[in-house]
């Protein structure tokens, strides 16, 4: 089954829009009642197909969401009765007594009930740790975002059947593992929230910094992650890190338009036209960061990253940026979530705050870290710092090394340009 088929027809576009608005609520309610997310999605898809068939003739109903729900409800009850008939027949064949009371639950009433937590529970199921990361991402976009399989496939540059398989398997895994449709409690809660945030962050990053392919950004995916983040923040208003992640995404997204030049080439933060930053998103990002700060306790890794992004958002230029504060925030982040990539960022911030030599010292300490061996940003940063220190030949070599490591074609061009600006390659002994 696929989502709404792309079509020129105006009605179909309205059906697409309604699906995007209503599908998560619909699938959430159906999962609560049927106890099976796979069946719930099938029923919702049946209702969608009915809309695609009937609305071009009958016109768009006054309350399209209610129409979809009513249709899905009828299908759900039909399905239950069919299953029950089959069960009875089997029981009779086995000469067992078929005197059990009819156990048909009051699905109709249950589906009429609006349960606030339906969508939240669906989020937790879609991001369940029993699933692989790829499966969580695909299922979240599908069930919460209302994206069709082909849309997900295009966004992630993978063949459509791969995504379809991923989703089918994910639903089977959830059924097999008897994953309950619930909001986790106790110690489990924090871990499950982390899993949700990780999925949203992965979706956003896939759009923000495409690791391969010709396109530097895929803004639609970022926007989708942002929308999902805002939804989750409303569902979990007391969670500091949820607001931290939303703040981070809003602030990163505020720079989307400025990150690409007229010919599609990447523009790095320092060179970005800050007039093209989206001040509506900056305002929202800063507000979300305040919510994260107000939720109490020390800031988590997402909120710290958001606080760093906020320093950039508040600054009128690279020079006016509060680099000592950024360096301190990276220091806090390195203690909370130590990683060589954070160390590398800290090196950049330190170089801005206290000079290229201080930054280079930190960056040099990272050259032996195995995790960074194939990471193009390490030579890219070292090249930048060496260039600032007037060591052009070494800088050129670093930029060329970075160019050979990046998987993004646009970024490779940018790095080779910078290498060329450092002068011709000097043959000679290379560092080990």
């Amino acid at each position: 089954m696929t989502g709404p088929a792309p079509t020129a027809s105006a009605t179909h576009r309205v059906v697409d829009a309604v699906w995007r608005m209503e599908s998560a609520k619909l699938i959430g309610a159906l999962t609560r009642v049927t106890g099976d997310v796979g069946l719930a999605e099938e029923l919702a898809q049946d209702a969608l197909l009915a809309a695609l068939e009937q609305w071009p003739e009958s016109g768009i109903p006054a309350k399209p969401g209610a129409w979809l729900m009513a249709t899905a409800k009828h299908r759900a009850i039909d399905t239950f009765r069919r299953a029950e008939r089959l069960e009875r027949k089997t029981a009779e064949l086995g000469r067992e007594l078929a005197v059990r009371e009819s156990t048909e639950p009051d699905w109709a009433a249950a589906l009429d009930e609006v349960v606030e937590d339906d969508v939240l529970r669906l989020v937790f199921i879609s991001c369940h740790p029993v699933l692989s990361r790829e499966a969580r991402v695909a299922l979240t976009l599908r069930l919460i975002g209302g994206l069709a399989t082909d849309e997900i496939a295009r966004a992630f540059l993978v063949p459509e059947p791969t995504v379809a398989q991923r989703i089918v398997r994910a639903k089977r895994t959830l059924t097999a593992a008897h994953v309950p449709f619930e909001v986790p409690t106790g110690a489990d809660f924090t871990a499950r929230v982390s899993s949700v945030l990780e999925v949203l962050y992965l979706i956003f990053n896939e759009g923000y910094a495409a690791t391969s392919g010709e396109h530097w950004t895929r803004p639609a995916l970022c926007q989708e992650a942002l929308r999902l983040g805002r939804i989750v923040a409303e569902l979990l208003p007391g969670e500091s890190e949820v607001h931290g992640l939303v703040a981070l995404l809003e602030l990163q997204a505020s720079r989307l338009a400025a990150r690409t030049g007229p010919d599609g080439e990447p523009v790095l933060l320092g060179d970005q036209d800050r007039g093209r930053w989206d001040h509506v998103l900056i305002g929202r990002g800063l507000a979300a960061l305040r919510r994260a700060e107000r939720s109490g306790g020390a800031l988590g890794p997402y909120a710290l990253q958001a606080a760093i992004a906020a320093c950039h958002a508040r600054a009128g230029s690279v020079e006016q940026t509060d680099w000592p504060r950024i360096a301190a925030l990276y220091d806090a982040l390195a203690q909370l979530a130590p990683s060589p990539v954070v160390e590398l960022n800290r090196a950049v911030a330190v170089s801005r705050a206290y000079g290229a030599a201080a930054g280079l010292e930190l960056a040099d300490a990272l050259t032996d870290v195995p995790a960074l061996r194939g990471y193009h940003l390490l030579p890219s940063v070292r090249g930048d710092l060496l260039e600032q220190l007037g060591r052009s030949a070494e800088a050129g070599a670093e930029f060329r090394r970075a160019a050979s490591l990046t998987r993004n074609e646009r970024e490779r061009e940018l790095l080779l340009d910078r290498a060329a600006a450092c002068g011709p390659a000097v043959p000679g002994p290379r560092e080990p």
Partner: protein, 141 residues
């Protein structure tokens, strides 16, 4: 894409008639739905035009301030939302859900810098840049 949903004035909004409790509840629920769906970026209701003013410019750039209220009620703006959605159809479906009885709502797409084309010179961008940086700093205080 972003849309501005403009709620037009009525005699009641101009008289400053407060909404009934039921209307407030319905509007509150609608706003909550917009926020929970992650589509509402901003939204405000405006006080009657009697509290506002117009500034009229002559061709030489001189200006005159005209105090409200203003007569042509239906042309006045009584409130607005800024919604971020993925299509024109989506914004219209959201607007159709609004709990209004009577009156009119106008839906307009928000232009991005790209829509201004070459008229947006680097100098203008730079100016806008300073403004936005200031505005962001204020938001962040």
């Amino acid at each position: 894409m972003r849309f501005m949903v403009i709620v037009k004035g009525t005699e009641d909004t101009e008289k400053g008639v407060m909404p009934t409790e039921q209307e407030l509840t319905e509007m509150g629920a609608y706003n909550e739905e917009l926020v929970k769906a992650g589509v509402m970026l901003a939204g405000e209701g405006l006080l009657p035009s009697s509290k506002g003013a117009r500034v009229r410019f002559d061709e030489k750039g001189g200006s005159t301030v005209i105090d409200g209220p203003f007569a042509e009620t239906k042309e006045l703006v009584a409130g607005f939302w800024i919604l971020e959605v993925s299509s024109r159809e989506e914004v219209l479906e959201w607007v159709r859900k609004a709990p209004f009885r009577g009156g009119e709502v106008e839906v307009r797409q928000v232009a991005s810098a790209e829509d201004f084309g070459d008229a947006m010179t680097p100098e203008l961008r730079e100016q806008e840049d300073r403004l936005r940086a200031t505005s962001a700093a204020q938001h962040g205080s």
